[in-house]
């Protein structure tokens, strides 16, 4: 891009008006060089390789008229000041242009050389000021991000030290601990964990604000994520004698979401609910489908706490909001949790809101987009307006050779996907998107338009290919299985047949994911059990 400090680009189709502008510039001894074009397209073309000090712009050109003209110029060259040359009768439009980022306007035929020179000088100065303001705002944001990242890193080091030595004392590594001492140490540990959460919240909020939060949506069984959240917070609820229950719709669909992020949202909401619910109260997590909004799953957390006043309701999702009436015990945290939770839900394309009545508890609800298998499957399981004769579901399960998964699991997953793509035909088979929680292990599900024999041939090919990949072999144990999909009888309209088949496949997928989750759960329990055993030994 050529930067030309004494060049002015004049976009004007009327030769008389163009000459007049040139004359005024010479009269005013501005010393600028004028390049004149008479079509907007030529002007935009010129702006794509040259960067003049200023653009003088007529709004009504052969190839563009009115507001569109200045919008396109501003869009093309956001850093270059623009002065509009308006006709006698369209000052209103010129004012609108100034509102939207044009620096100034002059009414044709009614400005002299001094006015033109002054308008141009001021336009350049104002634009420079704006640019530097914008730069410093961006620098500040970047500085804030860097600062927070640095601070959180520095805070983690002493926090780790506290965490380590307290657990060393608690685990009896440094000698026996009395029950009273143990009680005090638990308090220290709890506080350290709170600090840890706050540091994470600070980073998450900063990331959300600068749009850097990343999510990896996959196809998940929402009930599994809810069960994990409830299991993680059961002890906290028990300690406070608050009942924690689940109400899950049995025909709950698959949703398209990042399981780690949804877990974060749920933990936040359930933790809040427990915090604000008195002893002997209850917290219920529900998930259901709404008849009126079939594309979303509704997940809600209901508590029997003291509720939120109508004045506070619009504020609770704001950053740093803390309930001023909260008793000391519940005022722990930065007040970022709900803000982060709602931002995460928004990133998924869902919504979050609260309903509450003072004294009668609150209901926090959020929605997540449903995963529509029927739409995805239709092209593969139908042919010439009919359902295919045979459909099979092939599942490829990868269990990490050690748990938790180590090495570059993500890379291995990518390699695996590559193999699966090689082994499928685009118009006959569908590789379903990543399924299940992102915990240890992985499951890939393939809907193949094949009968049992065909499925077996495919399984064999997949198996051979995966065996040849050293990345996969060293990191995971692979097991492949297939099951024929029981197809509905063909006396229904095709759409119904596809939906029915998709429902059956959903059921089979859910079952497969559950099997995997159950297996992992058992593995986790046995690990915890081993942990307890070693603790006793010491």
């Amino acid at each position: 891009m050529n930067k030309q400090d004494n060049h002015v680009l004049l976009i004007e189709d009327n030769p008389g008006d163009a000459d007049l502008v040139r004359l005024r510039l010479v009269e005013g001894k501005t010393g600028v060089e004028v390049a004149c074009v008479n079509r907007l397209s030529d002007g935009l073309e010129s702006l794509s390789h040259d960067s003049p000090a200023l653009v003088l712009l007529d709004l009504n050109l052969p190839d563009s008229r009115g507001a569109e003209t200045f919008r396109r110029v501003l869009n093309k060259a956001p850093g270059i000041p623009v002065v509009v040359l308006s006709g006698q009768d369209d000052e209103e439009l010129a004012l609108k242009a100034v509102h939207q980022g044009v620096q100034d306007y002059l009414v044709k035929g009614s400005f002299d050389s001094k006015q033109l020179a002054r308008a141009m000088r001021y336009a350049v100065e104002r634009q420079a000021l704006l640019t530097s303001l914008d730069m410093s705002r961006k620098q500040q944001l970047q500085f804030k991000d860097q600062f927070l990242s640095h601070v959180s890193h520095e805070l983690r080091t002493p926090l780790t030290s506290i965490h380590q030595f307290v657990t060393i004392l608690l685990d009896g590594i440094a000698g026996p601990v009395s029950s009273e001492q143990r009680e005090h140490l638990r308090t220290v540990l709890r506080s350290a964990q709170q600090l840890h959460t706050m540091i994470n919240d600070l980073l998450d909020a900063s990331r959300a604000e600068s749009g850097k939060t990343q999510i990896e949506p996959r196809c998940i069984v929402i009930g599994d994520v809810i069960r994990s959240a409830v299991a993680m917070l059961q002890a906290t609820a028990d300690e406070k004698r608050v009942g924690l229950e689940m109400g899950l719709d049995s025909r709950l669909p698959l949703v398209c979401a990042d399981p780690d992020r949804v877990l974060q949202v749920l933990i936040n909401l359930v933790h809040n609910a427990i915090k604000f619910t008195p002893a002997d109260g209850s917290v219920v997590v529900r998930a259901c489908r709404a008849e009126t909004d079939p594309d979303f799953a509704y997940i809600s957390v209901t508590d029997t706490g003291r509720g939120i006043s109508p004045e506070a309701r619009p504020l609770i999702f704001e950053r740093m909001y803390q309930d001023p009436a909260a008793i000391d015990d519940s005022r722990k945290g930065l007040g970022l949790g709900l803000y982060i939770a709602r931002e995460l839900v928004h990133l998924h394309g869902g919504r979050m809101w609260v309903e509450s009545q003072l004294g009668h508890g609150s209901v926090f609800t959020f929605t997540l987009p449903m995963f529509s298998l029927a739409k995805l499957l239709a092209p593969a399981i139908t042919t010439q307006g009919r359902l295919r004769e045979a459909v099979s579901l092939i599942s490829v399960e990868l269990a990490p050779r050690i748990s938790p998964a180590v090495g570059n699991w993500r890379e291995m997953r990518a390699r695996c996907l590559e193999v699966l793509r090689q082994c499928t035909l685009p118009d006959k088979d569908v590789l379903l998107p990543a399924m299940g929680s992102s915990g240890a292990g992985e499951i890939f599900l393939l809907v193949a338009s094949a009968d049992q024999t065909g499925a077996e041939v495919m399984m064999q090919r997949i198996g051979e290919q995966l065996e040849r990949s050293p990345e996969v072999q060293s990191a995971a144990a692979v097991s492949i299985s297939s099951k024929p999909v029981l197809l509905p009888r063909e006396d229904l309209p095709l759409i119904k047949l596809v939906e029915e088949t998709a429902d059956r496949i959903t059921g089979m997928c859910t079952e497969a994911i559950h099997r995997k989750a159950m297996f992992e759960h058992t593995a986790l329990l046995s690990r915890e059990w081993n942990g307890i055993e070693t603790e006793k030994e010491q």
Binding site: S161, D171, I173, H196, R527
Partner: protein, 132 residues
């Protein structure tokens, strides 16, 4: 059977001491290094069964250490677990690509860390089969 030997690389003396206590209580033998340069020297001299490595280090950070280990035919088979305060979103993938087998952010869960160490050191772990 000899106790497995673990090399702890961290520039913070408190964290080294804590990790040392924790690992010894769990029947591991430990040695330590305080910077990147001595980490490599110690790895060469001691041939540990496993290395626990910080990223922010003087005289050659964690990436440099991983790189040196990978380049050495004799040291590349020692499994490395990275334990750092850095943000996993920015660092995790890079670390694993550089050759570490696991990434833990400080403060890490002791149970998870120990279980990873035990699995990596178990004979079933393919990485160590090549080493022996």
């Amino acid at each position: 059977m000899d106790k497995p030997r673990i090399l702890i690389v961290d520039d913070d003396p408190d964290l080294r001491r804590a990790l040392n206590l924790r690992l010894r209580a769990n029947h591991f033998e430990t040695t330590y290094a305080t910077d990147g340069f001595s980490a490599i020297a110690m790895a060469q001299k001691e041939r540990p069964d496993l290395i626990i490595l910080d990223v922010g280090l003087p005289a050659g950070d964690g990436f440099v250490v991983l790189d040196r280990l990978q380049q050495s035919a004799m040291l590349s088979c020692i499994p490395v677990i990275v334990l750092t305060a850095r943000d996993p979103q920015a660092t995790r993938d890079k670390i694993l690509k550089a050759g570490a087998i696991a990434y833990f952010q400080k403060p890490a869960d002791n149970g998870e860390l120990l279980s990873t160490i035990r699995t990596v050191l178990s004979p079933a772990w393919p990485g160590t089969v090549a080493a022996s």
